[in-house]
């Protein structure tokens, strides 16, 4: 079914949301991704992906407390839903299976 499959970048964002725990909001996710992947990740892209993940029901979001920073604007914090967790586990399992199938001999020669 379309919508349950995760794209590569979607998966990364989802993982980051999980990794950041309570601090998962757009800019933090963006920074985390940039530092881990080494590529410059654009805020607009992260926003779009978060929005899509929310539409798919993989994450939920709520506005946080107002602070003095950010021009007085509140942050939107993201959290994984059960479906989101399942999707991540699913993706990992699929990868692990494929990894297990690589013959070790072929790998060494490559």
């Amino acid at each position: 079914m379309k919508g349950t499959n995760l794209g590569e970048f979607e998966e990364l964002v989802l993982l980051t949301v999980a990794a950041l725990g309570n601090e998962a909001y757009s800019v933090a996710i963006c920074d985390e991704l940039s530092s881990h992947t080494g590529r410059s990740v654009k805020l607009g892209v992260v926003h779009a992906v978060l929005n899509r993940l929310e539409e798919k029901g993989l994450v939920t979001s709520q506005l946080g407390e107002a602070t003095k920073a950010r021009g007085g604007k509140r942050k939107r914090f993201y959290e994984l839903t059960m479906a989101g967790k399942a999707a991540l586990i699913n993706a990992k399992a699929m990868r692990d299976q494929l990894w297990a199938k690589i013959p070790s001999l072929a790998w060494k020669n490559g």
């Binding site: 654009k42 607009g44 929005n51 506005l63 920073a69 950010r70 021009g71 604007k73």
Partner: protein, 879 residues
């Protein structure tokens, strides 16, 4: 430390389009990034990034759905806007007329410019590989020359590129200036073209009608004719395979190709195989040498997806290697894309075939023209803005009603924009008629213009016209729309005092001042330019040019013509010379005196013994030429000007003693027989430099100068032309009066003055119309006040002063800005380029002002007088 904020408008933009639920965290995120960027890359970049990001967030999921609904609703409303706008236009006939006429006049300039630009843009687009073709530019550096960029390159460059540079699909060389008289059967016709290689047809798209494009230009003495050249020479008979005799050599017609399109930077009637040139010029020195960059254009066609940086690097390496051998000169190679040839960097070409590089215009000229057109158009937009806001009072109630029944700011804004666009579209119709009327005038203004553009209408031009007109409408209606959208319903229906709606007085005054400043700058520039131009034409060059007819003998021997002229009673004298001086032509030689290491480039001319007396050159010392050498090798006498004596300190700077001294000119020893007073060899913008005249020999080409007297000049010229027919039956008679030739030499100035003069005429009409509208409006609104004053005993003069005071002060502010600005512009920027100019006079500075003031007085005066004369009883009774 200064607190920096993200740009407010970008923030508002996000808030406008974004869904309410997303707005807060989105703007918050942007803000956070902004603060971070502020620290890392400074306020300016941070703001830019903020703006870019604000636009990047405009995505389907962030945009309010209602936004689209609004746009849809506006579309329904447009019908209503059109209706009310139409009514409004018809109700205020005078103002609509002023607006439409003003916009139409100014837009016609815009239309001409658009057609002009589109024409320039369409150059060379017909080549299928056009996007890939590049021309080689040679940058030449030597002792006397610092990095001059030439549009030409050497044959060797082409060969080396073919051999060594990877990533090039084709190379083709064109050699300039193939011309001669083509003899077919009994008749002979002049023909002009280039020498070219077979690869020409692979690089460029010139379709061949008959003959094989692969082989047509291979063998020596092959010629490919264009369709019209073939018809010219052979009529209806097939040209292919026929023989043509040109300059006593026989060429075989190996192909007939389609005519070269007008919008091609290379134009020719015929192509001769380059291998012919190889055979003819083989003996000549330097042909095919690395430094022989003067007469060939080399075009390259890189292969698809070629790495241009790699090709450039290879060209650099190639040039560096070749330069090792040369001692005195260095050449670097550059690539110029085909589409940047016509509009692009100005490149030089050595004296050679005329029109070799084709038409050319530097982008700076286009920018200046664009700026001038923009100023005129903006001036007309100002009229619209001014008159609309001035009439605001009468429409405030309408806006109030609209707002009361639910119109928002947007709707009101759109209504006024729609109105302005309607006016500008109406103006487009009128300006299109003007465009058609002005087009031939513009094209015929200068011969270069005729060769450069056609200004034909194409679908693209028409579309551009409409888009342009809509843009003009939006620009004109922008401020009124903003102003009216702010009117609140409560104020509109409250007992609104007119004073309140006049809050924008400062804005309107500023617009009038800007308009008049620009107008005055235009008109004074025209006046000063015209006077300076006339001064240049009347300039004393140091010799007499009156009534001298210069006849270009082309390749004919002048003797028969000299004899024929000598027999005419109207001709008082004839002289022979190599070139005509004082109009920008130049011929030079290297001169040395005693010190063999001290050499100087001097300008030369070869003249016969009649030349100096005929042109009334003044000799300071010595006399005319005595010998009449038959060959260039036998020349032993030279007449120099004072600058030469000064430059070489000949005989202690004493002209008298310089006679008899020996100098070397182009490696040949010569004796100074005379010293001339300094005169202008070049154009007026050049400094006077050293000049040397040597005797004319029969080996030289000839310009005959005939001093003509008599009442009927045209008849005399016709008589001389008849004599020419006896000498040369093929070529047309090319003769011109010296004074006219000088006028042509400065034709770019006269073109410039004509353009600016035309624009200043437009600017003054537009500004005057605007002023007229404002005066009419002011007097109308103040009519009752005037009548009360009149009842109280004010006189007509008194009232006129009262009404015109405001306008006159605005005009004086404009004059105060414009006149010094123009004066400084000329004194600091323009005139220093002309070492022998006359200073700007106050008469031409103030004549423009006088004209503008006079027109303004007439308009203000007539209206105020009308108001002052009105009958108070009739006006005041109305209430």
């Amino acid at each position: 430390m200064k607190q920096h904020h993200p740009p407010a408008w970008a923030q508002r933009f996000v808030e406008w389009y974004c869904k309410p639920g997303l707005v807060e965290d989105l703007t918050g995120d942007l803000h956070e990034c902004f603060e971070r960027n502020l620290a890392t890359m400074g306020p300016r970049r941070a703001k830019l990034v903020y703006i870019i990001d604000a636009f990047k967030f405009f995505r389907s999921y962030t945009v309010r759905k209602t936004l689209f609904a609004h746009l849809f609703m506006n579309r329904i409303m447009i019908g209503s806007y059109v209706k009310t706008s139409g009514r409004n236009i018809l109700r205020n006939k005078l103002f609509s007329f002023i607006n439409i006429l003003g916009l139409a006049i100014s837009m016609s300039v815009g239309l001409l410019l658009i057609a002009f630009l589109l024409d320039l843009r369409s150059y060379d687009r017909f080549h299928e590989n056009g996007g890939r073709i590049h021309r080689i530019t040679s940058i030449f550096t030597s002792n006397s020359e610092q990095g001059g960029k030439f549009a030409t390159a050497s044959i060797k460059t082409a060969d080396l590129i073919r051999e060594k540079v990877a990533g090039i699909e084709e190379v083709t060389t064109i050699k300039n200036d193939f011309s001669g008289d083509a003899k077919v059967g009994g008749n002979a016709l002049p023909i002009r073209g280039y020498w070219a290689e077979p690869s020409l047809f692979r690089v460029f798209t010139f379709p061949m009608l008959q003959g094989n494009p692969e082989t047509a230009l291979k063998a020596p003495y092959s010629i490919v004719l264009t369709e019209s050249a073939a018809t010219k020479l052979f009529g209806d008979q097939p040209a292919l395979g026929k023989a043509i005799e040109i300059d006593s050599m026989t060429y075989q017609v190996t192909g007939v190709m389609k005519d070269v399109p007008f919008f091609s930077h290379i134009r020719f009637e015929a192509l001769v195989s380059l291998s012919t040139a190889g055979q003819i010029h083989k003996s000549g020195p330097g042909f095919g040498a690395w430094t022989d960059i003067w007469s060939h254009a080399v075009y390259v066609l890189p292969s698809k997806n070629a790495d241009m940086t790699a090709i450039r690097a290879q060209l650099d390496a190639l040039a560096t290697e070749e330069n090792l051998a040369g001692k005195n000169s260095r050449i670097q190679l550059e690539l110029l894309p085909l589409y940047n040839i016509v509009v692009g960097e100005s490149l030089r070409q050595s004296e050679g075939g005329p029109g070799f590089t084709g038409p050319h215009l530097s982008p700076a000229v286009l920018w200046i023209l664009g700026a001038l057109a923009l100023i005129v158009i903006l001036s007309a937009c100002f009229n619209y803005t001014n008159l609309s806001i001035a009439r605001a009072m009468r429409r405030v109630k309408e806006i109030g009603l609209r707002k009361a029944i639910g119109a928002g700011k947007n709707e009101v804004r759109l209504q006024f924009l729609a109105e302005a666009v309607m006016i500008s579209l109406a103006a487009l119709l009128l300006s299109f008629v003007l465009f058609l009327a002005l087009r031939p005038l513009l094209i015929n203004m200068a011969p270069e213009m005729q060769r450069m553009v056609t200004l034909d209408l194409t679908p693209a031009t028409v579309l551009a016209f409409i888009v342009f007109s809509v843009i003009v409408g939006v620009v004109a209606g922008f401020l009124p729309a903003l102003f009216f959208s702010k009117v609140s319903a409560i104020h509109a229906f409250g007992n609104v005092s007119p004073v309140k709606t006049f809050r924008h007085l400062t804005l309107r005054r500023a617009l009038v001042v800007i308009q008049y400043t620009v107008t005055l700058i235009f008109i004074t520039t025209t006046a000063i330019g015209y006077v300076q131009y006339k001064n240049i034409l009347a300039f004393d060059l140091g010799f007499d040019t009156a009534n001298i007819l210069n006849i270009n003998m082309l390749d004919n021997k002048p003797d028969a013509m000299v004899q024929a002229l000598g027999e005419m009673p109207e001709v008082k004298g004839v002289s022979r010379s190599l070139i005509t001086t004082g109009v920008g032509n130049a011929w030079g030689g290297i001169m040395k005196y005693r010190d063999s290491r001290d050499s100087q480039l001097v300008m030369t001319n070869h003249v016969d013994e009649n030349y100096l007396p005929l042109h009334d050159y003044k000799l300071v010392a010595g006399g005319n030429f005595v010998s009449r050498p038959a060959t260039a090798g036998a020349v032993s006498e030279v007449i120099v000007n004072q600058q030469v004596v000064k430059r070489f300190h000949i005989a202690g700077n004493d002209p008298q003693k310089a006679i008899g001294e020996q100098i070397t000119l182009n490696g040949r020893k010569m004796t100074i027989v005379g010293v001339m007073q300094d005169f202008h060899y070049g154009k007026v913008e050049n400094h006077i430099g050293p000049v040397a005249f040597t005797p004319w020999t029969p080996e030289d080409r000839t310009i005959l100068s005939a001093r003509v007297h008599g009442a009927d000049m045209p008849a005399t010229v016709a008589k001389i032309e008849a004599a020419w027919r006896q000498t040369d039956r093929i070529h047309p008679f090319t003769a011109e009066f010296y004074d006219e030739e000088i006028e042509q030499a400065y034709s770019e100035f006269s073109t410039m003055i004509k353009i600016i003069g035309f624009l200043s005429f437009l600017a003054i009409s537009i500004a005057s119309m605007g002023l007229f509208g404002m005066v009419v409006f002011t007097t109308e609104t103040r009519l009752r006040e005037i009548c009360i004053r009149k009842v109280m005993g004010a006189g007509a003069g008194n009232l006129m002063f009262l009404l015109s005071r405001g306008f006159l002060s605005l005009l004086s502010i404009s004059a105060f800005i414009a006149l010094p600005a123009t004066y400084l512009f000329f004194q600091i920027l323009v005139l220093p380029n002309f070492p022998y100019h006359t200073p700007v006079q106050f008469t031409e500075l103030f004549s423009g002002l006088l004209v503008v003031l006079l027109i303004a007085f007439v308009m203000i005066g007539s209206q105020t007088l009308k108001a002052a004369r009105s009958n108070p009883v009739a006006v005041l009774k109305r209430e």
